[in-house]
Symmetry: C2
Amino acid sequence: MKKVAEPTVARLSVYLRVLVELLDSGVTTISSDELARRSGTTAAQVRKDLSAFGTFGKRGLGYSVQELVDALRSILGLQRTWRVALVGAGKIGQALYGYQDFRRQGFHIEAVFDSDPAKIGQRWDGVVVQSERELEAGLAERAIDIVIVAVPASAAQEVVDRVVRAGVRGILNFAPVQLRVPPGVALKNVNMAVEMEGLSFALARGAAGRRGAPTGRTAEE
Amino acid sequence: MKKVAEPTVARLSVYLRVLVELLDSGVTTISSDELARRSGTTAAQVRKDLSAFGTFGKRGLGYSVQELVDALRSILGLQRTWRVALVGAGKIGQALYGYQDFRRQGFHIEAVFDSDPAKIGQRWDGVVVQSERELEAGLAERAIDIVIVAVPASAAQEVVDRVVRAGVRGILNFAPVQLRVPPGVALKNVNMAVEMEGLSFALARGAAGRRGAPTGRTAEE
């Protein structure tokens, strides 16, 4: 199967999001120029990204927004439901569980695991928080496709090793640590705290003038 | 000022998080080997990353966890409070506002802006949601250092342009779009949906055997 680079996939996600917004606003067709502008890229890049997956749009007429939404959803594997488990029922886990957009996009959290006796047995809507000791059995029982890791950094690699051994091939990691997975397992990382600290680092080292008057000038680093 | 690469800064954040966990568990010293193992990197990398900022640890004794925590907090600009504004009071904005760890790390959300008349005027703990029309005035009035952008993709670039013109030099973007900022402005991106769709893309294209029995084998791509 043809290899598609990660940045391309990320741009397809962005196009999809822009197009869904347009659809909600009643827009039915869009040019590659306009799609590019709204997605923060170039029309040439849009055409190149899409051409890898088929022929879309008509010369001079642009793309049908609905057709492109359907095609992108299919390309991104979003025309189906993905069965998701959440490991870690702390603050981030709770916020993710309540994040309605995941469900709307077809990612259904079917199981929640934690090691804290105070959390085990809690009922979150339809899902009961299970002991992490039941992880392997729970993943198999519910035929989980994707695991969201929201445990402390020090526990994350062990959780991931167990999840991978249990046959799960997709992991979304929120723990602030570089995780190792074998080939054939897809791993994505989301780390708000690290990004935020990257900002504070840049700002703390940024020279004077950072909080200068809004003159339109940009501070030099 | 010496340039420090972004991956280095991200690793410093990871070390800090690991060390704070250790401190909470009562651990007082740690070797570079152990810090590396818990951070998912090598001891040589740990020593190289830290050596850029001074001399830490004693040969054969390892690092003092407390000393390293203090040093990393200082390096990362976390020994002070950062004044943060949130633009976009939707689901992501609300989740971020409730995310206690930001406050604990010194990032205080001092203002919230939205364009939705139904949200404007809402009181979120101590902060009243303001109209986006008051953005520039509000940022100046509260001496905001960092803006979190949590608006729809189509609105994000305009918000960022206004924020940059108002003199803000740090932006954390949750909108699923590539944003442009001038030199001297630090921009970091967090995109859960894009990461999640990257997983579904990888899994949807992954060959059969993805949900195979937990044999320890890894599926080939």
